[in-house]
């Protein structure tokens, strides 16, 4: 549906003397309808890059093209073709609004209601993230973490994006809930043909969900390629360390008893 093309994106925080380059000349291309996994250590600039793609963080240099148009163009901004789901489902929803109202609001703001009207569209969106329509009447505080993260996904979909940025969306969740959310991302990707930038620090997750994987280290992309290749034949030293640090049973040897 829409390619995502990041060209020499650079993000600098602070001014002159104390300037920090969080994202340093990053170029990435995500073909339409595919998932790119972005892994890297904390502070390597993954989230900053995600925010830049979502239009929440201005670039110092370079540009980002969604479906061929610069995301800074007025027309693009109005279309809201790029949406982002945040890491923490406990903070990304307005605690004082029912989740149904949160979703309905986005539908109205984007004139995105289907033929059945706003309420129907809300129910359909909830259904698409496998939540019962009754969940729409609840407040975020009444839902579990996994349900909230589904609501956050539904709300992002309400704006009818073509590109979805998912920033560590499962790391605040229980392992048992994480797998359900990952399945959901898979299904949505298949059903809607979305282009997805999926950020995580978990290699097993990226291997499962992403067609291609890019590894970020100190603001730069140090390695990229098909997920399977990156994980089985890592070339960069950091990627290798990342793979070595996956916990394996009994790796430190049985403790002394």
């Amino acid at each position: 549906m829409s390619t995502l093309d990041i060209e020499s994106a650079t993000v600098v925080f602070g001014r002159k003397g104390a300037a920090v380059t969080a994202v340093d000349d990053v170029s990435l291309f995500i073909p339409s309808g595919t998932v790119l996994g972005l892994v890297g250590e904390s502070g390597s600039g993954k989230s900053t890059l995600a925010r830049a793609v979502a239009g929440l963080q201005p670039l110092a240099r370079g540009r980002i093209l969604a479906g061929g148009t610069d995301i800074r163009d007025r027309g693009h901004r109005r279309a809201r073709a790029v949406q982002m789901v945040f890491q923490d489902p406990y903070t990304s929803l307005n605690p004082r609004m029912t989740v149904g109202a949160s979703i309905a609001e986005v539908i109205r703001a984007n004139d995105a209601a289907g033929p059945g009207g706003v309420d129907r569209s809300v129910a359909e969106l909830l259904d698409s993230v496998r939540l019962p329509a009754a969940a729409g009447g609840r407040y975020p505080g009444q839902l579990s973490g996994g349900m909230r993260q589904r609501v956050a996904v539904a709300r992002a979909l309400a704006a009818r994006p073509k590109i979805l940025v998912a920033d560590e969306i499962t790391s605040a969740l229980d392992a048992s809930v994480q797998s359900a959310v990952l399945n959901l991302v898979r299904e949505i990707h298949r059903d809607l043909g979305l282009t997805i930038l999926f950020i995580t620090h978990n290699l097993a997750v990226v291997r499962y969900i992403a067609d291609a994987t890019a590894v970020m280290y100190q603001g730069r992309i140090v390695e990229q390629g098909p997920s399977h290749d990156v994980i089985t034949r890592p070339r960069h030293d950091y990627t290798r360390r990342l793979i070595d640090s996956l916990p394996t049973p009994g790796e430190f040897g049985a403790a002394a008893v």
């Binding site: 502070g43 307005n94 004082r96 990342l242 996956l246």
Partner: protein, 632 residues
Amino acid sequence: MPKTRLGAAGATPTRLLATVLVVALVVLAVIGPWIWGDQARVPDPAHLAQAPSGAHLLGTDNLGRDVLARVLTATRRSLVMAVGATALAVVLGALVGALPVVLGRRVQRVLASVLTTWMAFPVLLVALFTTILLGPGATTAVIAMGLTMTPVFGRLMQTLTAGIESSDYLVAARMLGISRRRQFTRYVLPNIAEPVLVYITLNIGGALLALSSLSFLGLGVQAPDFDWGRMLGDALPAVYTSPWTTVAPGAAIVVAGIAFGLAGEVLAGIARGQDSPVRAARTPAPAAALGTPPPGAGEHTTAALLTVENLRVEFPTAGGWTTPVRDVSLRLHPGEIVGVVGESGSGKSVTAMAIARLTSSTGSVRSRRLDFDGTDLAALSDSELRERIGRRIAVVFQDPSTFLNPALRIGTQLTEGLPDHGGAPAGARNKAVQLLDRLRITRPETRLGQYPNELSGGMRQRVLIAMAQMAEADLIIADEPTTALDMTVQHHVLRTLHERCHEDGSAALVVSHDIGVLTSLCSRIVVMYAGRVVEELSVDALLDGPAHPYTRALLASLPTLDTEVEKPLDTIPGHPPHPDEPIAGCAYAARCTRAEDRCRTDLPTLTPGTADATVACWFPLTPRTVTPRSAT
């Protein structure tokens, strides 16, 4: 939800008093002028300045008007003025303090400096200026009061909205195309409403006092109108001849001031959610029997460093008691690392806290046995605990920021209170640097001079781990020690923890929802579900295939580097029961693929399964069998 919480008004004596007073004032404000208005206004030359009597309960003033009627009638004006001034301050305060959050950086900066200048203006000067400009009168007094109160509200709302500005939900709203007006009315205002409401209530009392003083000074309400302040002012010249005329308005001002002050405090208490637990705590803890002793209980266990048998932890809530830990037994030997795993809310953290004797004071902690190296932890007083156990038990918390002192440098927190403190402070410092370095904290020397808020969450967590190591504790209790860390750092932290236990024989109890982390680190795993241990097994037994269906499901839902990419991941449908819920039978029955009738009525107890596993399940799996995917 705030509505239900506020609905609980009228329960404690303070709440009752505040509610009665405020309601009475409002009722008087509405009906007062209708009933006593004429009596209060019409002079009666026949009864000038009379002392209190049956006909005039509080006497009359120097024009013969009934003082009681005047005080009651003045309620409306006094209250309306106070509320009006506060309302003006709230609206203006919201415009300068809260609105900028949706208007962008530049407007925000300008209005912030406006606010600062405004705050710097002396209150009296603003009042005087307004009076000079507009001439004395009730409206002037209200405007003046409103203007002087504005910056306080503005600052409050500025502080409150600062927390919301960077919140993900407001950022998301902007990204999703929600209009600024809706951002303000639906996202900003409702989320600051509760504290602002409390503050408003507290301030109405203050405004009432201040406006009364203005009227008293002749700058506020002008005759023939009157409020309590004006009455007081008029009565002052005659204070020696007819003192009763001053008592009543004075008392009214004090009572109203106290009423709103109390109401504010009560609202604040409700908003903090602190009222109900304290109240509920006065009812005795439920006397539910402790669980049946675990296998091997009471055995001669000198070898064990920590023995917990049938631990039960309950907390009072508004609706009764909640039981996050129903029945937990576990045992740790020196040098051993035991993992506790379970979904969010299964009671892992509450268990860890109870063992460390850190449960909040309202909670009830009971157990058959809570024994640390031959000492009964439950029997120790707080000071005995500090003296005898002190640093032998170290704790690494899930949320490190709350347990580091924000006012002390990292270095101080790492080295203070060490057993040999007087000996070699330089030595302690070197050791701290080494530890931080081993935990992969960059520039460790510099870190020692920094304050906790200058470190990232992951760094703070590692500082706590370093603290535990500095203390050379015999038992380390670590609650999610690596959740805030990324993979490579996590790996180092786990390794350091492991080496530590291996080298000096300390034991560790590690809590995590990530069974992968635990299998890499621990020798034994305790699986918790709904406040109970459902299985305890060695890592080897775990790899052979656990016997409990829940443990299997947890393990299966974890993607690994061997997971089949084509198939959907295994999940555990549904969610764990809430700790308030009474549970009959096996708590996992609603989600279990093997559940049968018996599971829903009879509680399975921990029984030895294979050599190195105990399991609480009526229909355990045998090792190396595949979990049947179809429900029975």
